[in-house]
Subunit: 547 residues, 2 copies
């Protein structure tokens, strides 16, 4: 890892942030002022008083020339270091320069009682700071690769922003790495997306053979211990590889292999995770890794949310469904005998790593089930993406890596954007339930597990499109397009015959919930959602037509 | 409840926020623009175009005069309503006026594509908005009781801030209600504190007979359903009263009575809560109420954090320990066979209601155990508070309501301030563990339950003070004061003889954890914390002296 240099006015937080950043990046932290004090055996105010500023600046230049020559360093520089052109040249050439840009007001608040800041022992500190700012701001800007406004709610948020910026810069410098989903991606492409959730922001990496990139995974593991949670189906395929990579990076690895299946998404599996964490004395700095599909992701995420009141976790989804859907958004949890996903937490991962090579071993039915959510994202948000899926459904079914990478990346972008606007499902996020009202009724009516969730959603989307047409929101051609695409993805387009009574009961349309009848997510037009009640006669007509 | 009027420029969020605010306050929401449209049957752009602005303003004045004459309303007014002096007079006189103050930049972003804003259909919307701002800002300010900057991360955060402000204003208007802990409080005093955690901020009410104030509790219950979790000891004393108050307020009440004791702070109790919630079809708008001590608070808080990924909860602590300590700070959780509090969440309550009358029935040992944490807050943060406790320990032991109210309120203030700075225990919050390193060793060494937690902490503080003296941080007189106060609070000052080996083992001083020996929270001087390693010989001397 290349050096990271922090510049900015005194009191901007360079030392505090530098220390955390170094820990997270696994680099060594040095504060150039402390280094000068250590070398001279004198405090900085003392050096200023006895030797004067010019002498201090000479000592500072020596230290910066020497330290920037080293490798693997996070270096916090004194506020005036950039006055010297040699210092600026060294900082710019030998690492990534991050400018922590603070307002005069906030610096005044933070340095109010600090006698260790020699330049502010003056009658009018505000005036002095404004002068410093006017002279130095252009110099900081001149060498900065990244500018971070320090007027943020907290230090964690700033550190997270810096880490994201560094990661994005690394991607931009790498061959075949892009930071936005592009249809032109080929099978070598990797994509780095960022889910913007303030201090809970996290990156999603998508690409071939990412599981073999031990450095990528290890970079998001900040402590010495890591626990991989997986299941009996996935473990034989990928566990040894992931373990080996993490061990090579010097991590202590604990593995928890659970039985495979939705019926194990329960408290007993959660306790197995806790038991092994405690038996291995896992502390608060332990990172959990979810290696598997949606069930493993939900279980592991909730375990991470709850263990010692919250530890880091990383999603490594190995099914198309979990790559495009469940690993983005922070919903975690377990089932209760009286209801699915009734116990859980909104808890965001530190990173999502989606290796498209894992899709090679995915059963065909699960590939189709994942495509249902891909189609959904196009239908409710992005008509152009829907067009692209139509044109490329053959490639997707043939598991073309470039096509899959784009489908996954664009789905994640769309979902991340919705989640960003409504993290805790207050409103907008409901549109992601397009096809799900019908779909849940199918799953529940046939007994969970009979149809895969994605199969039920696929058929549910056809029904929702049909209802949209009956309500005058879309035309018949749109319904035909949705039906054809769902069918081309290998998904059912005819609903099971549960009987009209049972259908209505399963969709709870007979119950008054939250001030009225159930809300449907409809299309108006293709590529945009419309949330609305539906007259019962039109709903009955849709049921009659689709069953 | 009095009317709430929202004023501010177009696009400041008056309608969105007003709607949520009305729901939370149980008031009716009206948007004056919508009201005008409904009455005229014409859209506002149409009225402007056909009748002109003067006519619109007359219609607006009629609507505002009439609506402000009603009661129990949250009214969002059009951006220009305050141009009319009569409107200003009505708004100011007939309710609480909240000014949502938005920047021109953010309004431009939000109204970019809105054709329903007639005044912005102009070539240079920025200039127009700046003109509007210059004219209107002073008028908004003139009538505002509360000014809210809308540049906040999200709507929830703004609503929470407004609710807190309204609550504080209500307190300030009431007799015997104060918003800061004051030693002069008498037995009628109620205190309203605010724990500042952004969108997770919440109020703490402290006072006599608050359990009889059904409106207070109901005000924090936003949905129709509420589940009270309590135990077999507390239920006979207070459950019927709390149930009756909530039912009188029209709430559907579910009660869950668990067995009493730390040994029931486990998954099985948690499942009992979930079972009853699901059996009663409790939805995401259900509020949980923790009625009891620390175990009930921790269990209920974690149940609330996990049920449907998070529902509201209210702490109603009925022991001194839970009133001064565990109900502030958001730590929730359950025990695991391999460790206490190993599974849980940081999850903040919507409100804390501490009824000092409940302390009348508290066993003497538990009163003393609670005082240990009160003394701790004085010792590590506030020497003047420590002085006050010394002077008033007799009153506190005699359960004087005024003295207890101040002790609880000041403790909550101190703890809330530490939590605000370090919600998730990244650093500073560690100082709250003063006395706990020794205390945990005592509890664990004797077997949990032998000594109460507060008893162990009381003795632990004496030991930590002794160690502070040996390390040259405080003088002998300070140690004597800590010892005398702990003894006067009815707490043990001599540690049990566990054997030196076992002591060291229990404190884990022989293990290298996190880069070195264990950190002690020490005093330097009384009223301020110092975090430091301790040389083993000094630690051994403390053990020899205190056992």
């Amino acid at each position: 890892m290349q050096n990271v240099f922090l510049v900015g006015l005194m009191g901007a937080g360079k030392t505090t942030i530098g220390r955390i950043l170094a820990r997270k990046l696994g680099l060594k932290f040095i504060d150039s002022d402390h280094e000068i004090e250590a070398r001279t055996g004198a405090s900085i105010p003392w050096i200023f008083e006895i030797e004067g500023e010019p002498s201090f600046r000479r000592r500072e230049a020596d230290v910066i020339r020497e330290l920037t020559g080293q490798d693997g360093l996070v270096l916090a520089t004194g506020g005036g270091a950039i006055l010297n052109p040699d210092n600026r040249a060294h900082l710019k050439a030998r690492g990534t320069v991050i400018y922590l840009r603070a307002s005069v007001h906030s610096i005044l608040q933070r340095t109010a009682h600090d006698k260790n800041r020699p330049l502010l022992q003056t009658a009018d500190p505000r005036k002095k700071l404004e002068e410093l700012m006017a002279i130095r701001d252009p110099l900081y800007m001149e060498i900065a690769d990244v500018v971070i406004d320090t007027g943020r709610p907290n230090v964690q948020s700033m550190v997270q922003t810096i880490l994201t910026q560094l990661e994005t810069m690394a991607c931009e410098a790498a061959p075949n790495c892009v930071t936005h989903a592009e249809p032109s991606m080929n099978e070598q492409s990797t994509i780095l997306l960022n889910v913007e959730l303030g201090e809970r922001s996290y990156p999603i990496s998508i690409g071939p053979s990412l599981l073999d990139d031990a450095a990528l995974l290890a970079r998001h593991v900040h402590g010495g211990k890591v626990a991989i949670v997986t299941n009996t189906t996935v473990a034989p395929l990928y566990l040894a590889r992931v373990e080996a990579g993490l061990r090579a990076a010097g991590k202590h690895v604990i593995s928890v292999v659970l039985p495979d299946g939705e019926e194990y998404k329960n408290w007993s599996s959660l306790m197995q995770i806790f038991d092994q964490l405690l038996a291995n004395k896992a502390d608060r700095k332990t990172t959990l890794i979810a290696l598997g599909g949606g069930v493993i992701g939900d279980l592991t995420g909730y375990a991470a949310a709850s263990y010692m009141r919250g530890v880091d976790f990383i999603q490594v989804p190995t099914t198309l469904l979990s790559q495009v859907d469940s690993s983005v958004g922070g919903k975690t949890g377990i089932n209760h005998p009286l209801g699915k996903n009734m116990i859980g937490a909104f808890y965001q991962p530190r990173a999502v790593i989606a290796d498209t090579a894992t899709l090679e071993t995915l059963p065909a039915r699960e590939l189709s089930a994942g495509l249902a959510e891909v189609i959904k994202h196009g239908a409710i948000i992005d008509a152009a993406f829907f067009d692209w899926i139509e044109a490329n459904i053959g490639k997707l079914m043939a598991r073309d890596k470039g096509a899959l990478a784009y489908a996954i990346a664009r789905s994640c972008e769309i979902k991340a954007d919705v989640v960003r606007q409504d993290e805790r499902e207050g409103g907008l996020r409901a549109i992601l339930n397009f096809g799900h009202t019908f779909g849940h009724a199918i799953e529940n009516g046939l007994g969970y597990g009979e149809w895969l969730h994605g199969e039920a959603v696929g058929c549910g989307m056809v029904m929702a499109a049909d209802l949209s047409q009956r309500m005058g929101l879309v035309d018949a051609a749109t319904v035909a397009r949705v039906r054809a695409l769902v069918a081309a993805a290998g998904l059912p387009v005819t609903a099971p015959d549960l009987g009209t009574e049972r259908w209505l009961e399963l969709m709870e349309v007979d119950k008054k919930n939250e001030g009225g009848a159930i809300k449907f997510i409809l299309l108006k037009p293709l590529g945009a959602p419309s949330i609305s009640n539906a007259p019962q006669d039109l709903l009955l007509a849709t049921l009659a037509a689709c069953v």
